[in-house]
Each structure stands twice: as structure tokens, then as C-alpha cells.
Amino acid sequence: MNKLVAVGLPQTGKTTFLAALWHVTESEEIKGSLRLEKISDEAKHLNEIRNEWLSFQQVGRTVLGQEQSVSLWLKNEQGAVGEVAFPDLSGEAFEQAWTGRHWPTEYDEHIANARGLLLFVHPDTVKEPISIREMQQMVEAAIPEEAEADAYEAILRDSDRTVEPTEEWNPLMAPTQVQLVELLQFVHQRSKSEFPIRLGIVISAWDIVKNKHGDQYSGSAGAEAWLTDRLPYLVQFMRSNPEFINVRIYGVSAQGGDLSADRQALQRFERTAERILIEGPDCARHDISEPIRWCLGLR
């Protein structure tokens, strides 16, 4: 069996992606997408999350301890792809792997046997390594430039000043890019698959990026450009470890837009799957199965 594992920190869109994927493969609304060969014996979880997605609701996120084993029997133009296991794992477990330095044995087995990985990043939950210095410089930029001597005086005054942080160190405060690099290092250490592993990075809620930045991050390389700007440490890790991972980056809006503000527009699609937005290498419009194709080595 082909095993793909979706990894990522909490609330990064893993379950919503799975709901939309199930709909696209089952409904065959998108020409050229992977299709369902047969319905899995156990499809309760898939049906539940798909119903939420079809009802324009937020898809319930996966809670630690209540993860579901999901498998899809897929086919493409050439014939059967086979059963693809796609365990819906909780983001909390990956967060705990960073903070508590352990993960469940069941996760370990999934990771060990995964042929490909999908790593999810949500643009609204990225923690960046903003320094006090950067904030001070931003404030400083609003003030008229001062004489060099005054700047020296301020430097010397501050050099004698001792301060204590008001917050206590907590690993959860670490930047997202560092947590994700550590997660990939854990995968590297625990994987039993042959390297390089195919890794699809999914920037979820891609509509947020498009609305905020217009055409700045457009086209097949738009998602990679966004990742490079926002998580350069992760990009360095990817580029410097080609023996371990082979990466493609996708911008995906599985919901197609904001469920409150864009609701009516989203409901107007005759074929619901056409509300899906995806950009990345080899991506046909609305075909959310493309990252799966890539991870399974069908590209």
C-alpha cells in the first residue's frame, strides 16, 4: 500500500484538504484529477468531513487521541493507483514532538513507512522570529533622524542597563520555521523509506495570501516565492538536503475563500469542486489531487 502522511502544526488545514480531496476524487467534477476506484470499507470519517465541507462549514479539526485511519482507492488515466493510506493525524501531536520531544508509537509507524509527506503551513499561524531590535528600528523609523553623538549616547546608556524579560521561555514561542525543520529532522531520523522522500508543502488558505498580496505570489512558482519570503530557514533546509527530500510547493485554498465574507460567491459554483483554488507546479485549475500525484511519484 502507498502511504502518505499529512504533517503540520495544529490548525494548518490538513483535515479540510482531506475533505476536499475526498470530494474531488469521488465526484470526478475536475477533469484530469485522480479519481476514486472504489469506496473504502470504512468511510465514516471521510463522509463526515466532506459533508461539513459541502455545507460550507469549517471542517472540524482532528483532536489528539481521536485520529482517524483513512484510505482512498485511487486511479488515474493509466489505471489503478491502488490504496493510498492517508492517516488524519492531529497537529497537536506534532507540536508535542517539538515541546515534549516524543510522539505516539502509532505516529512513528506512519512516519516510518510513509512514501511521501504533505507538510501543511497556514499563513495566519506562522510565528516569525521578530527581534526586539527590529521592533525598535520600526519605531525609530517614525522619528526624525538624530545626530550621531546622540545615537552614541543612547548606545552607551543602554549598554549599562540591565533588563529582565517579562515572559518565560516556552518552546511554543519558537518560530514556525524552526519547529518545522525539527519536525522534518525527526522524520529523517525515524523514516525507513528510501531517500529522497517526496515532500509536498501545502500553503493552505491560499486565498488569504492572494487577497493580501494580489499578484505578488502568482503562478506555478508563487507558493515557493511566498515560502521563501516567510520561512527562509525551512527553505534553506529543503534546498540543502536533496538527498533526503525532493520538494514541491503548492498554494491551496480547499474552501476557496472566506466562509463568512465569500459564502454566497462560493455557493454559486455549479460544481462545488470548482471553488477550490490551487497553484503550483503542474497544477490544473481546482485539481487538489495534484500534490498527491507528486507525492506518489506519478509525476
Binding site: S131, R133, P165, A174, Q189, Q236
Partner: protein
């Protein structure tokens, strides 16, 4: 398949995850290594060791934190990509007090505690053209207290075998204090005493590479009253420091750095560090010179000992050797 220095090769290196409880798999701690665990990395890879030495608050930990931080600010630093680290948690903890999320209004660095002794931080670097394999680098942070005890006692100094092993002995001197009338004499005397103690205790091989980093250069510039006067001050410091080392080690470099300059300073973060990290990672590690290893004089009747003593007398100490 992976190359010898590629990430998969490091499967063999320490801190392997293990199954601790029936339903839990323990993962590596990500904290800095102690001497013992780092030795496994050293064995598994030809890893250069950079030893940071200096009095308390001279900027050792800030240098470490700013190296990690520099890789997070762009797509490369000093021509390297960061290919990972086994001590990410340790680096992050050291960076925390300089981050906005700490709630502080002045960037600081959590000090290395006396009990920490010697802590090793790990970096995996790769040239951005990817034409060479991943290079490992261990940067050791010696607590100010360990430094003090080594200065105060020859016995303690002898215990610091890492000084002999290190590929780079990096002596950090607070240039902000050197440029201050109040602290100049104290700072200079302590720095000089460390060098003297090391030399008298034969802590360096003839091929030792010494880097003297004059830290907090932004403060030194402010104290000198401008960059031009600071350059004159730098020249004077270089003359004085190199005089003390001259002819006693393989190479000495003396440069100013500002790991985390004040926000009003014109210096950029990690000022002066890129050239050093380039050479620390790129130059071949020092080869321990076997000619300098001498065994005690043989008083044994064992045939092998007598044979060795007769055939290769240079391996053994002569009468009067220390």
C-alpha cells in the same frame, strides 16, 4: 543513496530516538550536547570544534544565538545554507531574550549557568551551490565560571583538554569595556592572564589557530566617538594582543565583531561573523601532530616495549621532558 556526509549518514550519530514507554517514542532533546555526547558526533564526522572562551558577559552566548538567528533572516548566511542542527531547542532558548515575544525592551541573552560548564552547539552547513557535502560544526560555549577557575588554577586549566582538541580557540574580549576608562585595565589584565596561563600550561600545539574577537564593537565605536577613532583604537589593540601571542601559535586573527548591535548602531546584526564562520567550516580540521605525543620512558621487560623503545625512540619522552 546518501553520501557519507549527507543527512542520512547522520543516522549513526547520537541522541537516537528510543521507545521509552509502550505508546510513546522518545525523540532527541535538541538541547546542547555535553562533552560526552558531542564526542560521538566528532567520531562520526570530521567535525571542526570552535571553542568560545572569555569572561562572563563578554558575548559568547550572544555570538552563538546570533549565528542561529542570522540563518533565519535570509536565504543564506556567509554563503552557507543551514542544513539543520541537532541542538535547535538550545539555540532557540538562547535566542529567546532577544525576541519581541520575550516582552523585553532591550535584547539580552540568557547566560550560560556555572553548572552548564561546557556546552556544545551543533550546526549543519552546506555551500549554497550544493557542490560540496554537508559540513558539521560544533561550537563550544565555556561558561564564564569555568573560565575563571581555569585562570585561577593551573590544575583546572590542565583539565580543560578541549583547549588542546579545539580546531579554533576563540578568545572573546569585550571591546566596549576595553574602550572604557573604568574597565580598560581590568579587562586587559584578565584577557592577558588567560593567554599567559594557557601558554605556560602548554595548552596549544604549534599549529593552533587563535581567533581573538573584540566583541560589542558597536559600543566601542560609541565610546571612541566614531568609526574613525575606533579604527585607531583597534590598531592599538591588535598591536598589543598580537605581541603577546607572537611566534607561539600557528595563526592568530584579531577582528572586531558585533553579534547583536544596538538598534541605533550602523552595524548590521552578526557584524564581522561571516568571515569567521566561513573559515571555521571550510578549513580542514587541525591534524593532531603525532610527533608531539610522547610516551613515558619504558622501564618494562616486555619484549614489545623494549622493541619499540629501541626502534622508535622518538615516541618516548627523554630524561628531563615534562
Amino acid at each position: 543513496m546518501a553520501t557519507p556526509d549527507s543527512p542520512s549518514a547522520s543516522h549513526a550519530v547520537p541522541e537516537k530516538a528510543s521507545t521509552a514507554a509502550p505508546n510513546i517514542v522518545q525523540l532527541p532533546t535538541g538541547k546542547p550536547f555535553t562533552n560526552t555526547s558531542s564526542s560521538e558526533i566528532l567520531r562520526a564526522n570530521a567535525t571542526p570544534v570552535v571553542l568560545l572562551v572569555g569572561s562572563a558577559k563578554c558575548g559568547k552566548t550572544t555570538l552563538l544565538a546570533s549565528l542561529h538567528d542570522a540563518f533565519q533572516r535570509g536565504l543564506s548566511f556567509a554563503g552557507f545554507l543551514c542544513a539543520g542542527s541537532r541542538t535547535l531547542m538550545g539555540f532557540e532558548e538562547r535566542c529567546f531574550e532577544s525576541r519581541f515575544s520575550s516582552g523585553g525592551d532591550k535584547p539580552t541573552t540568557g547566560r550560560t549557568r556555572p553548572a552548564d560548564g561546557l556546552m556544545f552547539y551543533h550546526l549543519k552547513l552546506r555551500n549554497q551551490d550544493l557542490r560540496t557535502p554537508v559540513q558539521h560544526l560544533l561550537v563550544a560555549d565555556m561558561s564564564g565560571e569555568l573560565y575563571d577557575s581555569a585562570m585561577n588554577s593551573a590544575t583546572e586549566m590542565q583539565k580543560q583538554t578541549i583547549i588542546r582538541r579545539a580546531d579554533y580557540f576563540v578568545h572573546l574580549i569585550d571591546a566596549g569595556r576595553l574602550a572604557s576608562d573604568e574597565y580598560r585595565a581590568l579587562t586587559r589584565a584578565n584577557a592577558s592572564l588567560l593567554v599567559r596561563r594557557c601558554l605556560e600550561q602548554n595548552m596549544f600545539q604549534p599549529d593552533a589557530r587563535i581567533d581573538v574577537l573584540l566583541t560589542k564593537w558597536d559600543i566601542a565605536i560609541a565610546r571612541c566617538g566614531g568609526a574613525q577613532k575606533a579604527d585607531e583604537f583597534l590598531k592599538a589593540q591588535r598591536d598589543e594582543i598580537s605581541q603577546q601571542w607572537e611566534g607561539k601559535v600557528g595563526r592568530i586573527r584579531i577582528e572586531p565583531i558585533a553579534s547583536r548591535p544596538h538598534y541605533k548602531s550602523k552595524l548590521a546584526p552578526a557584524h564581522g561573523l561571516s568571515e569567521f564562520i566561513r573559515s571555521w567550516a571550510d578549513e580542514p580540521p587541525r591534524k593532531f601532530d603525532p610527533k608531539n605525543v610522547k610516551f613515558p620512558i619504558v622501564n618494562s621487560d616486555r619484549m614489545f616495549d623494549r622493541f619499540a623503545f629501541r626502534e622508535v625512540p622518538g615516541m618516548f619522552k627523554a630524561d628531563g621532558d615534562e
